[in-house]
C-alpha cells in the first residue's frame, strides 16, 4: 500500500505562498474524511504549521493518490502545474517514510533541532485521529516517528545547543546556575534586545527587575512583560530606580545590560557587589554596543561576562554542533526507515503465512486420519509419534517459503507463493 506525501515547506516556498496553503485545524475534520470517501484511499493525515503544509495519504493506487493530493491543495488555492512543480514536493513509500521521520525529529525544520515541530506533528495526529482518518498504518507510522524523534533527542545533542543570542544567554545561565527557578535577573535598559532577553528568561526565573534611566520606559517594559506571562507565573517583573542599581548588584544572579550609556559597570563596582554576594556566581550579559561593562570584569573570580560577540560565538558553535549531530540523526533515521519498511512487509506477509500454514496443516491432518483408519491397531505412542513426525515434515517443508515471505521485499514473492500453492486471493 503506497504512502504518499505531498506538500510545501520553507525550503521550497516563500512565506507569502506557504500562508495561502496553511490549513486551519477545522479543515482536518471537514475535508479529510471527504477525501477518504474515495475507494482508493485508506488513510489520511495533514500537518500544517507556519513552515509547512503536508498531506500524507495511504492509498491502494499510487497514481490515484497523487491526483487526490493535488486536488486537495487545489481546493485551498489553485495554482498552475508549472508552479506546483517548483513549490511542491511529492514523495512515495520509503522516501515519504523517511521524510516524516525527519520532519518529526526537526531535521527538516528552519532551525534544526527545535523541539516545537514534534509537538505539532503529535497535535496533527490527534486531530486526524479525532476526524477518523487515521488507520492502522498511519497509527503505527506516526507513533514510530515520535519514538524516533525521542531517540534522536536522547542519543544526539541536536537540541542541546542554543541558536539565538537570547537563548544562548539563558543556556549559559543554566550552565552556571542549573535550575533558574531561584535566580533573580536584572535588566538594565529597555531596548529591543533587552526585551527579547527578558522574554527568554520568561517564567523560568524567580524574579525579574528592570531598571532604566527613564523610569517610565522601565515601567512600560515591566507591564508589557507581565502581560505576556501566564496567570499562575510567579516571576512578575518589578522596577528598580536607576540610581540604586549599582549598589544593588549583589542582589542579582544575572544582569543584562543594554543601554547607550557606555561603561556603567567597572571592576570595582562588581567586586563590591561580589563581596555582598559572598562570591556567589554572577553572570553578566552585555548586549550593548558600545559595551556597558568593562571587559576586565571577566577576570574577577566567579564572575562570568559575555558580550554580544561572545554570545554570537556561542550561537555559531551551537549551529555547527547541531549540524554535526544532524548527521548522526540521519543515520538513525535511515535505520528506522529500513526497519519500519521491513516490519510492514512482514505484516503484509502474515496473512499469506497463516493461509499457507493452515493449508498444509489441513493436508497433514487429513493424511494422518487416513493412515490411522487403515492402521487401527496403532497404540497411543505410535499415534503421537506419527503426529509429531508429520508435523516435523510440514515444518521443514514450509521453513524456506516462510523465511522468504518474511525477508523478501515487495509483494511479488507473496503472489508467487499464493499462486504456487493456490491460496485465496491476496488482500
Amino acid at each position: 500500500m503506497p504512502l504518499i506525501v505531498t506538500g510545501l515547506s520553507h525550503k521550497t516556498a516563500p512565506l507569502e505562498i506557504r500562508e495561502r496553503f496553511s490549513a486551519a485545524s477545522s479543515l482536518v475534520s471537514e475535508v479529510l474524511p471527504k477525501l477518504l470517501l474515495d475507494a482508493d484511499l485508506d488513510e489520511a493525515f495533514l500537518i500544517s504549521t507556519c513552515n509547512r503544509t503536508e498531506l500524507y495519504l495511504v492509498c491502494r493506487n499510487k497514481e490515484r493518490g497523487e491526483i487526490l493530493a493535488n486536488e486537495f491543495f487545489d481546493s485551498l488555492e489553485k495554482i498552475s502545474s508549472e508552479k506546483r512543480r517548483h513549490l511542491f514536493y511529492q514523495l512515495v513509500d520509503g522516501a515519504a517514510l523517511g521524510h516524516l521521520f525527519r520532519v518529526t525529529a526537526s531535521l527538516d525544520a528552519m532551525v534544526v533541532g527545535e523541539t516545537q515541530v514534534t509537538g505539532q506533528v503529535k497535535d496533527a495526529y490527534e486531530r486526524a485521529k479525532g476526524a477518523g482518518t487515521v488507520g492502522p498504518y498511519l497509527n503505527k507510522l506516526v507513533q514510530r516517528s515520535l519514538e524516533v524523534a525521542k531517540r534522536i533527542r536522547t542519543e544526539t545533542e541536536i537540541s542541546s545547543h542554543p541558536v539565538s543570542v537570547s537563548s544562548a544567554a539563558v543556556n549559559l545561565a543554566e550552565n552556571i546556575f542549573g535550575d533558574l527557578k531561584e535566580r533573580t535577573v536584572l535588566i538594565v535598559g529597555s531596548g529591543e534586545m533587552a526585551q527579547l532577553a527578558a522574554q527568554h528568561f520568561g517564567d523560568k526565573i524567580k524574579s525579574l527587575t528592570i531598571t532604566n534611566r527613564t523610569e517610565s520606559k522601565a515601567r512600560e517594559m515591566a507591564a508589557s512583560f507581565n502581560a505576556g506571562l501566564p496567570a499562575e507565573a510567579l516571576a512578575k517583573a518589578g522596577v528598580l530606580p536607576y540610581e540604586k542599581f549599582q549598589e544593588s548588584l549583589g542582589s542579582y544572579d544575572v544582569i543584562v545590560t543594554s543601554t547607550s550609556a557606555g561603561i556603567i559597570l567597572t571592576p570595582d563596582l562588581v567586586e563590591a557587589g561580589m563581596s555582598l554576594r559572598k562570591n556567589h556566581p554572577l553572570f553578566l550579559i552585555d548586549i550593548a554596543v558600545p559595551r556597558n561593562i568593562d571587559p576586565a570584569v571577566n577576570k574577577i573570580p566567579n564572575v562570568y561576562l559575555y558580550d554580544i560577540d561572545d554570545l554570537q560565538g556561542v550561537v555559531q558553535a551551537g549551529m555547527a554542533e547541531r549540524a554535526k549531530e544532524a548527521k548522526k540523526a540521519e543515520a538513525i533515521i535511515f535505520d528506522a526507515t529500513v526497519s519500519f519498511e521491513k516490519e510492514m512487509d512482514q505484516r503484509k506477509a502474515a496473512p499469506t503465512i497463516t493461509e499457507l500454514s493452515r493449508k498444509f496443516e489441513g493436508i497433514r491432518e487429513a493424511e494422518v486420519a487416513k493412515v490411522l483408519r487403515c492402521l487401527p491397531q496403532l497404540g497411543d505412542r505410535e499415534r503421537k509419534e506419527l503426529e509429531a513426525c508429520t508435523k516435523r515434515i510440514v515444518s521443514k517443508i514450509l521453513h524456506e517459503p516462510i523465511v522468504g515471505l518474511k525477508e523478501e521485499e515487495g509483494s511479488s514473492y507473496a503472489e508467487t507463493v499464493r499462486r504456487l500453492f493456490k491460496l485465496g486471493t491476496e488482500n
Binding site: I176, G178, M274, K278, N279, H280, P281, P301, D310, A317
Partner: protein, 263 residues
Amino acid sequence: MHLSCVLGVFAIYLLATLVSLVRALFFKQGLGRLVFGILIVGFLLHTTLLFYYLGTNQYPYFINRSYGLLFISWFLILLFFILSKKLKFEAVSPYLLPIALVTYLLSVIGREAELSGAGPQSVWVVVHFVSILLALSLFILGFGVGLTFIIQEGRLKAKKPLLARFPSLEVLDQVRTRTLWLGWVLLTIGIFSGMLLSWIYYQTLLFYDPRQIGALAAWAFYLIYLAARSKRGWRGRHGVLLPLLGLLVIFLTVLAARHNFLT
C-alpha cells in the same frame, strides 16, 4: 575461585574505565548505559569479595592497608552510582573510575603484613577504620568533582564551548562542598575514635605518629577551607588548593604511613 574474582573485578573495572574514557573523548553518549551495566556487574562481584573478606578476616576486618583500599574503591563505585542516578552526573566517570581502578589495583598488588589481632579489641577500631576510609573516599570524590568544576569554569571564562552533559557549575560546587563536609565529619569521627582508642589502651591521646599527625593536618586543612567558604565566600576555583592539599596529605598518610605502635 578467589583469585578469579579478584582478577575479574579488576578486568571489569578496567573495561568500564576505558569505555567511559572513550565516551568522554569521542562524545559517544550512547556508551553511558554500557558503562553503567559493566560497573553493576563489577560492583556486585566486588561486594561479594568484600563480604568474603569480612567473613574470613579476623576482627577488626580491615586488617591491613590492602583491605582498606579495597573498601575505598568499592565505596567510590557506589558514590558513582549515587551521583549518576541522583544528579545525572555520569560525566564524573572519566575521573572517578580511574581513581577507583587504581585504588583497587593498589589493594591487590600492595599487600602488606596483616595486623596481628593483638591490638585493641574494641568496636571503636572498626568505627575508626571505616570512618577514615569513607572520609578518604569522599575527599577523592570531592577532588574529582572539583577538577570537573575547574575545567568547566575555565571554559566558561575563556568563552569556549562547554563540555556537554555536565551538571551546572552551581551543582558541581554544591556536590563538592557537601562531599567535603561529610568527609570532614567522618574524618572527625575517625580521629576522635582513634584518640579514644589511644586513651583507653595506651593512656595517651596522641602518639605523635605519622598517621595521627597526617590526619590532623588534613582535618585542619579541610576545616579552614570549609569555614572560609562559609564565612568569606571561598568559592569556585579559589577553594581548590586547600582541599587538594588535604587530600594529598590524607592519601599519603593512609598509603605510606603506619601507626608507630603497630611496628
